[in-house]
Symmetry: C2
Subunit: 366 residues, 2 copies
């Protein structure tokens, strides 16, 4: 099949990125990080594509962040400094990590002595050295050591054990979900908690070389957190409805949409498109408006319901009445999980399809 | 990499099917359909694998149901009677439908004159004939004609137009979500509504040859709906937490699990596993218990939270305290969307991995 040259000919559903918007998003974050002297280590879970990681590295990213061994394997083709922000626990994981090309500098985030010892043992046996960041829980309560004593003990072990090298601390401020103009109190608490950890490590001669934090919603407030050396935003390359609703980007900064076709208008007050939960995912919006996405050019029209291949557009707040066959572009609530449902993403300039790339790091196996 | 022979060696996260349970689920539904003289046309969106469609056909299925052209293309390798329960509206869709092997009998469900005319025009031009079922809305309010007059008009057009053949009606009772022992009132309403449509079509000489309905939760009550000739359950091959919670299967009938490894126990009251929303999906349970899944062998332990690669097991209702590296099997809330996240599924007998198959019909493009 010939690759369509214009958006009108692209079969639906399809993942589409507005390249001008994407480049502006990349430039904005790179500019902020440079201005604040923060290392930028973008999380590639959002796009899972080496082509886009290269765009980030060309703009000065210090390396990339990955969540899975598969992502590390794929990103190793373009990047020689990779942070696996996830403990590699389970059959084959450390082996695959150690099998990455020798020129790749690997760092791993972890919060347990068990994970540390597993890596150290295999790395030492293979004559490798894996960097370690101690994962801190600064309020998200997902993973991370709970107190300074635990952080010190784990950092000490990382310093002492053969096969691993203690490189600092990391945290993920995923619990800070307030609109950007209301984040200051949560970030002040985080700043205090982080300072306590850093002071304790300093006292023990374990001053962290790297202090890595930063989500997309909090990225542009990173300079208010003391001691931070690095940020790891992911979503910012595309942005999504959640990012826009929190005010961390404008609606017009949403670069990724799912192109869909209206297939039914039989039920009053709604139109059904061919992008359902297998194209958008059922991720709720934690903000006014609800639904599972909204039309890029008619933000008041939301996806009020999803089946696997059906998206139900709510027409009660618009006088737009779509025809069968009409096409729409939907901004999903959470872009990372939508991208992950597509084999391929198309890059457009206006209505022209100028490029495309595969979502190469999907799944977990080679 | 050598394919692991035992479950303990399988890298995580991984999709795993207990073959004995799957076969029992297949036998049970095939037995019910045969006993009630209902055609069984399983919806293959659940497994997306021709290997499993073959298992269904070998047990007497009259054909298969698909939701996408891609699924039709993949299933055409094993099945010559395919219902596309979705209007093929959008660039390339009718062309791809007409390009299926000539021996495949194709039927399409639709609810609009626009969709009908698009298919008829292209099919007539190609010298093909595509069967048509008129989609009825019997209470789900997703798609489907709203009244008998609309059904008659559309059926008449399907009868008259060249390139298409009117074959009957279809509906999806996806709104009947009550526990099975409380479904009778909803099914009685549906039965009345369906009878009204059928009577109107009969009066106009458009008696439907096929009356196709049936979801997994309502499947074993299909004999209480008058006029039904065919059922299209999908989930029943694997079942899931939702099916079990509605009483449409026993917990021990859940054949599909996501195998995962405990990677963190740092936060009190929970354990974190390496199966997140990219392995399970964020589908809420419409029943007591909440969460996004539960452990197969400890049903009281639910997945209380999800990040993309993190699943948070709630340990507050158990005295089980998992170790880092321990492995669990999670029954997802909605199996169809979890399967769709995996490249490959492994079939096990007890703890032995005896086979595997690819989720071949994922995505929308060839």
């Amino acid at each position: 099949m010939l690759e369509p040259r214009v958006l009108d000919e692209v079969p639906t559903p399809a993942a589409v990125v507005d390249l001008a918007r994407m480049r502006a998003n990349l430039d904005r974050m790179a500019g902020y990080a440079a201005q604040q002297s923060l290392a930028l280590r973008p999380h590639t879970k959002t796009h899972k594509s080496p082509e886009l990681a290269r765009e980030q590295l060309q703009r000065g990213a210090a390396g990339v962040t990955v969540a899975t061994i598969r992502e590390a394997e794929v990103m190793a083709s373009v990047c020689h400094d990779i942070l696996l922000a996830y403990p590699p626990v389970g059959p084959g994981k450390v082996e695959r990590l150690l099998a990455l090309p020798a020129h790749v500098r690997i760092t791993v985030a972890l919060d347990s002595r068990e994970a540390l010892e597993m890596i150290a043992r295999d790395a030492a046996r293979a004559g490798h050295e894996v960097g370690v960041l101690i994962e801190l829980d600064l309020g998200m309560h997902r993973v991370g050591v709970q107190d300074a004593a635990a952080a010190v003990a784990l950092a000490r072990s990382a310093e002492d054990l053969e096969g691993v090298a203690y490189r600092g601390v990391t945290f993920y401020p995923g619990h800070v979900r307030e609109p950007v103009d209301q984040q200051a109190p949560a970030l002040a608490r985080l700043d205090e908690d982080l300072a306590r950890f850093i002071e304790a490590l300093d006292r023990e001669g374990l001053a962290p070389g790297t202090v890595s934090g930063g989500s997309t919603p909090t990225a542009f407030a990173s300079h208010t957190v003391g001691g931070l050396t690095e940020i790891r935003p992911g979503t910012y390359i595309f942005n999504d409805r959640t990012t826009a609703e929190t005010g961390a980007c404008a609606w017009e900064d949403c670069a990724y949409t799912v192109l869909a076709t209206v297939v039914s208008t039989a039920v009053r007050g709604q139109a059904v498109v061919d992008a359902g939960s297998k194209a958008l995912t059922r991720e709720e919006l934690r903000a006014a408006g609800g639904g599972f996405g909204a039309l890029a050019d008619r933000r008041e029209v939301t996806v009020k319901g999803l089946s696997e291949e059906h998206g139900l557009l709510d027409l009660t707040s618009t006088d737009w009445r779509p025809r069968i066959g009409e096409r729409v572009r939907i901004v999903p609530n959470h872009v990372c999980v939508s991208v992950n449902l597509h084999d391929r993403v198309r890059g457009v300039e206006g209505d022209e399809v100028v490029t495309g790339w595969s979502v190469a790091a999907r799944g977990w196996a080679p």
